[in-house]
Amino acid sequence: MSRKLQNNLFYASVGIAVLICSLILLFLFGIIIWNGLPAISLDFLTNSSTEFGASGGIVYQISGSILLVIFSALICLPLALGTAIFKSEYLKNEKAHKWINTLIYSLNGVPSIIFGIFGLIFFVNLLNMGISWFVGSIILSMMILPTVTLSAYQSINSIPTVYRETSSALGLNKWQVICHVLLPQGFSGAITGLLIGIARAIGETAPIMFIATAFSGVQLPSSFVEPVLTLPTHILALTQQATNPAALQNAWGASLVLVMLVVIFSISALFIRLRHQTISKR
């Protein structure tokens, strides 16, 4: 085989891989938009649902989902940044590093239903907190913690030593170096992690459906220990009544809204990241 042919073959096979990926994505988006768009109207977005979702809108599902992921991000961010700083600045022992990595990867590998069961047993049964959206946020933050921690760690760890040395040589103490040099950089990494984490968390049903959500009849929570409605659990409920065309229609509509939320989160995270200047390698 000539080298040129080999090159072309290789080029073609990577091209095909990319094409297949994009086609799958386009197909998914296409179907969701095609089926979901007819369901969407201002009324659908601003009214509460009736008849278990077969009619009415999804405003409280939207607000519930947003509430859940925003609080899970708020809980997750300081933990992730703290772990990342500790790991890159204080932990010198190789073995301990390996152990922490193993723990982080294991946490990431835990199936989401296990988080749900854990929440149910620990928070609801043992601590007797009842069905609460805040517990849902805690559970979701545990789920996205590994992703956020690792990306914060990577961006902090990639800061060249000379930046640490330069700032210490200017008389900054360790804490000031962390605040003025490392955290800004870690923050932008954590945002990237959050973007990936939230996109995953907002679509999760299993971890929250026993502990944080109701299926109907709930509006905005007025305390930390009330259930909320969420989009994924709503979609689940609607697909269970798939024989009813109105319910199916609304399921597509809610799915489209869910996808749009993920897109909005991603874009805003991107903006935050762009506005935040970071140390780049030269």
Binding site: K92, S168, A169, G171, H180, I279
Partner: protein, 269 residues
């Protein structure tokens, strides 16, 4: 004003010449390697002391020990004393951050933070909360003028520092170090990544700065040392081979190793 006029006379007299830093029996090991052996040095005030020596001889290790930037290296072991204005810098109760505000350092490659030019100059004093905006601007102006960068950047203080040329960035780094108001400035081959024009600009700046600061300048470049050094320290293989007034060493060193190095930039010790 008068004091300044007196100063040069005093240094001519020589007797009252004050030593800012004294290094006594200083040794460094990194893991099993003996990097510096038995260093005895004294650094006179308001002069430029150049440290020369072949690559790997321990020049960086030596000056990085003075402001304790080396502390972070794992397996570091030291013996002996470095005394700065009567203070033994390796004492347990020394406030290292405070020490580093008195002994500033400029590194080999210009290292600017992802911030504006002005913020970079103020980086070392940003936590002093009681400075007004105007005062900050004045401080930035003062130090940018000292490093003769003011004319070039005065109209774009809020631009990113990374947009400056390498030579300008290095001068910015020096201004940033000066803003902390140190007494001693350590420079580790500050011009080795710069063009000849920027290099000359920094050399001239050093000669002006020594009026107010004590300067320790590591260089690979013997010609450079010839141009700016008042004192010379020649280090080879972790040992001080010769030290003294630069004029004497350059004109009539009696040490065969120094002579060889000054002639061929090569040393087999």
């Amino acid at each position: 004003m008068e004091q300044k006029a007196i100063k040069p006379n005093l240094s001519v007299v020589g007797k009252t010449l004050k030593e800012v830093i004294q290094i006594k029996n200083f040794q460094v090991w990194i893991k099993e390697n003996h990097i510096l052996a038995n260093i005895q040095l004294s650094i006179p005030k308001n002069e430029i002391t150049c440290i020369i020596g072949p690559s790997g001889s321990g020049k960086s290790t030596l000056i990085r020990s003075i402001n304790r930037i080396n502390d972070g290296i794992s397996g570091l072991n030291i013996q002996g004393e470095i005394i700065f204005n009567g203070l033994s810098v390796n004492d347990k109760d020394v406030d290292v951050a405070q020490l580093r505000t008195q002994i500033g350092m400029v590194f080999q490659k210009p290292c600017v933070f992802p911030k504006s030019i002005k913020e970079n100059v103020l980086f070392g004093i940003q936590h002093l909360k009681n400075l007004s905006k105007l005062e900050k601007l004045q401080i930035a102006e003062e130090h940018l003028k000292t490093v003769s960068l003011w004319k070039e950047v005065s109209h774009r203080l809020n631009d990113k520092a990374i947009s400056l040329s390498l030579g300008q960035q290095q001068r910015l780094c020096i201004a940033r170090t000066l803003a902390v108001k140190p007494e001693v400035i350590l420079l580790d081959e500050p011009t080795s990544s710069l063009d000849p024009v920027s290099t000359r600009a920094i050399e001239e700046m050093m000669v002006k700065l020594k009026e107010n600061y004590t300067i320790i300048f590591v260089t690979h470049n013997i010609q450079q040392a010839k141009r700016i050094a008042d004192n010379l320290i020649f280090i080879c293989d972790g040992k001080v081979i010769e030290q003294g007034p630069a004029s004497r060493i350059f004109s009539c060193s009696t040490n065969p190793q120094t002579k060889a190095y000054l002639r061929d930039e090569y040393c087999d010790c």
